[in-house]
Amino acid sequence: MCGMIGFVNYKKDISNSKDILINMKNALSNSKNDKMEFYIRSLCGNFL
């Protein structure tokens, strides 16, 4: 299974929210063995 996940916030710094994204990814059906890619842009800069 593959799927999209993500969130956007215009108030908070979410650069430390990668764990939430990983939890969301792991919730996707049959995703345990799939590779994950993510991209974060926050007030603190961009992370890939």
Binding site: C2, Y10, I14, S29, D34, E37, F38
Partner: protein, 569 residues
Amino acid sequence: MTKWNFIFGHCVATSYNLHFNINSDFIISFNGKLYNAKELRQTLEENGFLFETNDDTEILLKSYIYYGKDVVKHLNGIFAFVIWDTEKEELFMARDHFGVKPFFYTIKNDSFIFGSEIKAILEYPGVETILDSQGISELFGIGPAHTPGITVFKDIFELKPAHFAVLNHSGLHIERYWKLESKQHVDNLEQTCDNVENLLKDSINRQLVTDKPLCTFLSGGLDSSIITKFASEYCKENNLPILNTYSIDYVDNDKNFVKSDFQPNSDNYYINLMLNNLKTNHHPIIIDTPELADYLEDAMIARDMPGMADIDSSLLLFCKYVSPNSTVALTGECADEIFGGYPWFFREDALKSGTFPWSIAISERQTLLNPVISEKVDLQNYINYRYNESLQQVEILDSDSQETAEKRKISHLTLNWFMQTLLDRSDKMAMYNGVELRVPFCDYRLAEYVWNIPWEMKALNGREKGLLRYISRKFLPAEIVDRKKSPYPKTHNPTYLAKVKSMLSDIMANKNAPINNLLNRDFILDILNTDAKSFTRPWFGQLMTGPQLMAYLCQVNMWLEKYNPRIEL
């Protein structure tokens, strides 16, 4: 100005095309497949765009850069995607014409959260599972269908098919970009046949393009036989390996098959007719009762709600067995919706029922609610509201005959509600196993053209899908062309009834089982004691009777245990 913060992610199976494409100004996450990627790329190259990959994602992003929001008007495919536009400081999201690919979202504590599945959104801190009056009405009044844009959970929404959304400092703006427009049909029968055949062939050929192992699902019915015939020819013409085909059946179904008006014959004879004709590399998949019941929970989880019981779990298992060898499958789904193949297109009582004809057991559904809840939730009112709201969207032309006008209404309901339910089922059960199902009959250009064909021509010779049969006669065996419509096969094995009856009995033996809080315990015990004969009409469609109703009730309890929704009335 406040800067936006965002975090995108996606998981990528090795068999599937879903990637980020990042440059300094745009970031894209895309789930799906473009069937007109070649033409899009050519236009972009003619306008100075350079490409680093052969990936649909790069083509989609550069199409957005070129066309802006109008990009959705140039896409043919199955897709859900998000694009972050740095200069505009906005998130652009879109979903394909018929909603083959899912897209859910919610807003919580200043965050806009999105995902391909509800269960992923539920992982975001603070997002709750709340079942309010609308959710209960959706689940037990409309379900397993759903009102476009709405989910069973309060404040969790889906982006409707054929819609895009923009999120920026002004808020969330959602807009429809496509619908079936009623126009007068001017082509004669011969021209109509040529156009339908060309559109269908073009759709199939586009959807056969893949670098993944390919197959078709073959039931020996008209629709899957057309797809398989053209796919087989395509493989031969393009020096591809012999086409793999798959069919589904159940252990001992040959001994236990019971004829009905809706299911007049089993598939095997007709599958063999096609195999003798096409010589494909065929794989029959035979499913047994224990696994069919065991996978009811997986099927519920795949949908994030109780669904079509073993009609779902069998497809999930079917895809599980297909997936080691083929990860892209073409199916004949949606032909009945596009070309008018269901019995309710012809039955006077269904046309005049004043409700969704695949879901007529409204009084039984109301009785199924826990009496305390039933006092506060009026399913009939909710269904009437949604039904009438939907019918108001139908465009009837002055030039339409009375019959065409009536059939536009039933077609509109079927396309927007019933077909969506089956597309949800297909995508979720298949993607659960990493299989990508493609539905050539769902090509929006084909649907646009067929929408306006007068009913007298669409139901040529008074037959369901008469026009499609007429066209197919020149390339399919007559017995396939004349075969009466038969739905997706279900098990007739009595061991399945025994199994789900035992499962439901075990659930009901526990008076604290969550199903008791939501549904009418006495009625469920009555259903158990009568082998579901006390529920006199199908729960949904034509197949969800007896064992399927019991299996559905098991799924309801599984869902309540896993998702633990808070009831808020």
